[in-house]
């Protein structure tokens, strides 16, 4: 019986591992290709996007997906980091768009979430429902409102046109409210009896307790805004203000030779942040998903 159980366990583990490898496959390939020479990349992936074309009278070959490069080299990284100033500039553009959004939204949303989860007032549920609905809307639905407001405030073609709507987006409020619902009311009662003000309660009791929720929010916001494509294309005309996500979608077409290193450098902060805060992140996401 026990042998059979162990056998089942091994088989299941193998199945799950295969699945995990499939999921990680694109990440692995990006990394492997980033260590390949430009020449080899062109050789292997040149046929992409050439439908029904022929080479010297013969049919176009298939791409050559390799799990090991012929020659390991850091050539692409050198090219991206040293020879193309645009990459680093756009990297910083991304950073200066994403950091204010995260800091702002975490600040604004944690205050609002406290009110929506722990204070009683009229219209609370209706207000929360408004946040929830806005959160569900795709970017294009709120595109025109955002655009009109940015235009009226004279923010077009400035990073603020992306940062401000980002700060006030509904997701943080929703997520932190869900999270704060888990905090027993007794903590707040006890602090009230000791004469603490709400601001003090919020700062010294609530915030430390929602640390996992905050970590999860930070990571999810980072993923979302580090990745943004629509907003910069619409709000920023100036190509020098564009973030890296936009640069990458262009690089993919033109300079395939360095695209993999650019991609790897682009995903590195996300992956590292995630690995660093994984346990908090998972706890945060999980607590936001179950009812208290």
């Amino acid at each position: 019986m026990r042998v059979r159980l162990t056998l089942v366990k091994i088989v299941l583990t193998i199945v799950m591992c295969v699945f995990a490898v499939l999921l990680l496959f694109p990440i692995g390939i990006t990394f492997i290709n980033s260590l390949t020479t430009k020449q080899e990349i062109e050789l292997n992936y040149g046929p992409i996007g050439r439908i029904n074309e022929t080479v010297v009278g013969r049919e176009m070959p298939f791409v050559n997906l390799k799990l090991m490069p012929d020659l390991v080299s850091l050539e692409q990284y050198g090219e991206v980091l040293v020879n193309s100033p645009k990459f680093l500039m756009m990297f910083w553009n991304s950073v200066f768009l994403v950091l204010p959004i995260i800091a702002g939204q975490v600040f604004v949303a944690s205050l609002a979430a406290y009110a929506l989860s722990k204070l009683n007032f009229r219209g609370r549920d209706a207000l929360f429902f408004a946040y929830l609905l806005t959160m569900l809307m795709p970017f294009q639905v709120t595109l025109v409102p955002n655009y009109m407001m940015a235009d009226r405030l004279g923010l077009l073609n400035s990073p603020s046109a992306i940062i401000l709507p980002g700060i006030f987006a509904a997701f943080g409020v929703f997520m932190l409210r869900q999270f704060m619902l888990h905090i027993p009311y007794a903590y707040i009662e006890a602090a009230k009896i000791d004469g603490a003000s709400h601001l003090r309660i919020f700062y010294t009791i609530i915030l430390p307790m929602v640390k996992p929720g905050l970590s999860a929010l930070v990571i999810l916001l980072f993923v979302d805004y580090w990745n943004m494509v629509e907003q910069p294309l619409i709000f920023l005309d100036d190509p020098f203000k564009q973030p890296l996500s936009v640069y990458l979608s262009n690089v993919n077409e033109g300079q395939r030779g360095v695209a993999f290193a650019a991609s790897a450098l682009y995903m590195a902060p996300m992956v590292l942040l995630y690995l660093y805060a994984e346990s908090y992140f998972i706890e945060g996401v999980q607590l936001s998903g179950i009812k208290g």
């Binding site: 007032f121 609905l133 179950i290």
Partner: protein, 305 residues
């Protein structure tokens, strides 16, 4: 006697204190809400309300009149209908697939497997990988000369132009699942871990089958998680536009032309009123879906009590 009075006095004072606190609560609540509320109204609520108002107007300046012309134009428009159908179809197909697959994987992961923590990390990883950096890999896989067609040719099958036929729909579903499955898995894992183990033990002692356990224990106790996962999956199914846009551009194959493409293109053509009308209709659609979900959840909760 005197003791009693003393106590009652304290109770009353306490009660007054409580009432004062409650009264204060509302005031404090609005103070906490000001930063978010002002920005949220300024950037979302007010302009959206204005936009909806505008979408019912015809003409400009002084000669404005209330009319449904934008909406009737929209409903008559072939590309809007196509986009609306595709968006609905995509969510209606991909969200259930996603939920079933991620629940299945979460249930397996909830068993006592080896490397559980590592597996969980691996499943969540795609979520934190920016799609812009993965687009190349999708091209390598799904291009006319791509790896998938190479593998098909090994099997003696002819090539498929994945992104320019109806197959594009399935490619996008795969991308959507690839990216979001980890998030759902950890949500389901949390829900599963909340179900007391002895429920299953009792059920086993009483001779209940696996299917019965799944239906009558697992799914019943997962309802609130399921509700949350469904909402998040719907949001994420709209977000897959970004990936589609990066891979296939503003005018992709018909089968993956979504409402977001339509609205984006309306914006580029400066057809703002049509765009707001489309946005209002999509918002209405989402509102209806959310109402239905909430209704189902409430009814379920009542039947549990």
């Amino acid at each position: 006697m005197r003791m009693w009075g003393f106590c009652r006095g304290l109770g009353l004072a306490g009660r007054i204190k409580m009432i004062r606190w409650l009264r204060k609560d509302a005031a404090v609540a609005w103070l906490f809400l000001i930063p978010s509320g002002v920005g949220f109204s300024l950037f979302y609520l007010i302009p959206f309300a204005q936009g909806v108002f505008q979408s019912f107007m015809e003409g400009t300046g002084d000669s404005q009149a209330v009319s449904l012309s934008h909406y009737s134009e929209l409903i008559a428009s072939g590309s809007f209908k196509k986009a609306a159908f595709n968006t609905f179809y995509f969510s209606a197909v991909s969200v259930p697939i996603m939920i079933v697959v991620s629940l299945g994987l979460a249930m397996l992961l909830n068993k006592n497997l080896y490397f559980r923590k590592w597996l969980r990390t691996a499943y969540v990883m795609p979520l934190v990988v920016p799609v812009a950096s993965i687009i190349l890999i999708w091209q390598i896989l799904f291009d006319w000369n791509g790896s998938l067609n190479l593998w098909l040719s090994y099997l003696g099958k002819s090539r498929v132009d994945w992104m320019k036929t109806d197959a594009a729909r399935y490619v996008v579903i795969v991308i959507y699942i690839w990216k979001n499955i980890g998030y759902n898995i950890i949500l389901f894992l949390a829900g599963l871990q909340q179900i007391p183990k002895d429920y299953y033990e009792t059920a086993q002692v009483e001779g209940a089958g696996r299917f019965w356990q799944l239906r009558s224990i697992t799914l019943v106790y997962l309802t609130s998680t399921l509700f949350f996962v469904t909402i998040m999956s719907i949001i994420n199914s709209f977000k897959v536009f970004r990936e589609t846009y990066l891979i296939a551009g503003a005018y992709p194959h018909d089968s993956i032309y979504m409402l977001q493409h339509y609205m984006n293109n309306m914006f580029m053509e400066l057809d703002i009123q049509k765009l707001t009308a489309a946005a209002a209709m999509m918002a209405l659609g989402i509102l209806i879906i959310v109402m239905v979900l909430f209704g189902v959840e409430r009814r379920h909760r009542r039947s549990m009590e």
